[in-house]
């Protein structure tokens, strides 16, 4: 039962509904239900946030190390260097998301044009 295993027009949409919408909006609805009743600092929520963060970080790592599309044609060192420099610029230049993105993109494009 993978995304491509059933050859019908409705299957990908059903897949997205169950694995995407249901898996996401359930948490939002639970949030409304519990609204104002649980503390944000509770231990359970620290654990929940840590797992969610590690999971999204794993996706980021994969997108940089094992990318798809045109990014896959660039050298691994260039991708890691661009991401590292962008992240360093974010950390040391006032923690602005835009700064991190712009620096990483500039390094990547410069590396591709020079290389």
């Amino acid at each position: 039962m993978t995304f491509t295993s059933i050859d019908a027009w409705w299957w990908p949409f059903l897949f997205i509904l169950v694995a995407g919408w249901l898996a996401t909006d359930s948490w939002r609805f639970l949030g409304v239900y519990f609204g104002g009743r649980i503390s944000e600092d509770s231990d359970l929520l620290v654990l929940v946030r840590a797992v969610a963060t590690a999971l999204v970080a794993a996706v980021i790592g994969n997108l940089i190390i094992f990318p798809s599309g045109a990014l896959a044609a660039t050298p691994l060192g260039l991708r890691m260097g661009a991401a590292a420099l962008g992240f360093a610029a974010y950390l040391f230049l006032g923690k602005r998301v835009l700064v991190g993105i712009v620096v990483a993109e500039a390094v990547l494009v410069a590396g591709m044009l020079l290389g």
Partner: protein
């Protein structure tokens, strides 16, 4: 902190008119046009490229943008589709990555609701909760009359969702015609957006530890068990970061 302030408009006796609603809805629309809104749109540019490369159609990608909305969940879903995960495994990974939405909604609801807000309105509006609209809302709701807050949030939330569905559709159509350097840059947008915004939104050190562990464990597990790479990295990295959180707190206490 925000809700404690008495709002002058609470005292006005008249029920909100259509004109009031329209005024505050449009104020919400305008709040969406901002630097964070622009950064979010750039992340969606990257997401569209990612979805196309994964083999999704235009309709599927726009549909996914509307029904899931939160970007981490969508990127995890694409990752699961790419690694050939089954429906239950994909749903489990997306659910784990979206748990963070629950505490965000929990924190937002008391700020959002007025005295007479029906529950169903809150359930509908909760669909718009994702990092960007949440951050803007938590910052700005205090300055909006309590009776108009749901209207304002409907404005900003619906604008962000619809505008980014449009962004995704446009990028999807032109992605093939881009030169390789631009196309490669496009694929770096999503990881850079999350690398920086995730670090900034972590509330405690455990979040930073979890992030570093996940960055390393994701690619590591991808080489050995691609079908379960995200789940394994998330659970092991997250639980280890939580253990670190407990240990460092105990050390501080003693």
């Amino acid at each position: 902190m925000l809700s404690g302030k008495p709002m002058p408009d609470d005292a006005t006796p008249h029920a909100p008119t259509i004109a009031d609603r329209r005024h505050w809805y449009l104020r919400g629309v305008r709040a969406a046009v901002s630097v964070p809104g622009l950064i979010l749109a750039s992340a969606f540019v990257g997401f569209a490229g990612l979805a196309k490369e994964a083999g999704l159609t235009l309709a599927e990608t726009v549909f996914m943008t509307g029904v899931v909305w939160a970007l981490p969940g969508k990127v995890v879903l694409i990752g699961a589709i790419l690694s050939g995960a089954s429906l239950p495994a994909a749903a489990f990974a997306v659910a784990l990555s979206s748990v963070r939405l629950m505490p965000m909604v929990v924190a937002l609801v008391p700020e959002l609701k007025g005295r007479h807000t029906p529950k169903w309105v809150l359930y509908v509006l909760s669909h718009f909760v994702a990092v960007t609209s949440w951050v803007i809302a938590m910052e700005r709701l205090g300055g909006i009359p309590r009776a108009m807050r749901t209207t304002w949030y409907a404005g900003i939330g619906s604008t962000l969702v619809l505008a980014n569905m449009g962004v995704v559709a446009v990028v999807f159509l032109v992605a093939d015609r881009l030169p390789p350097a631009v196309s490669a840059a496009l694929f770096l947008l999503t990881p850079m957006y999350f690398l920086t915004s995730l670090w900034g939104s972590a509330r405690e050190w455990a979040g930073h530890v979890a992030m570093v562990l996940g960055l390393g464990l994701g690619p590591l597990f991808h080489m050995f068990a691609p079908q379960y790479d995200l789940l394994a990295a998330g659970l092991i990295g997250g639980i280890a970061a939580y253990a670190f959180h407990r240990l460092s707190r105990r050390r501080r206490a003693s």
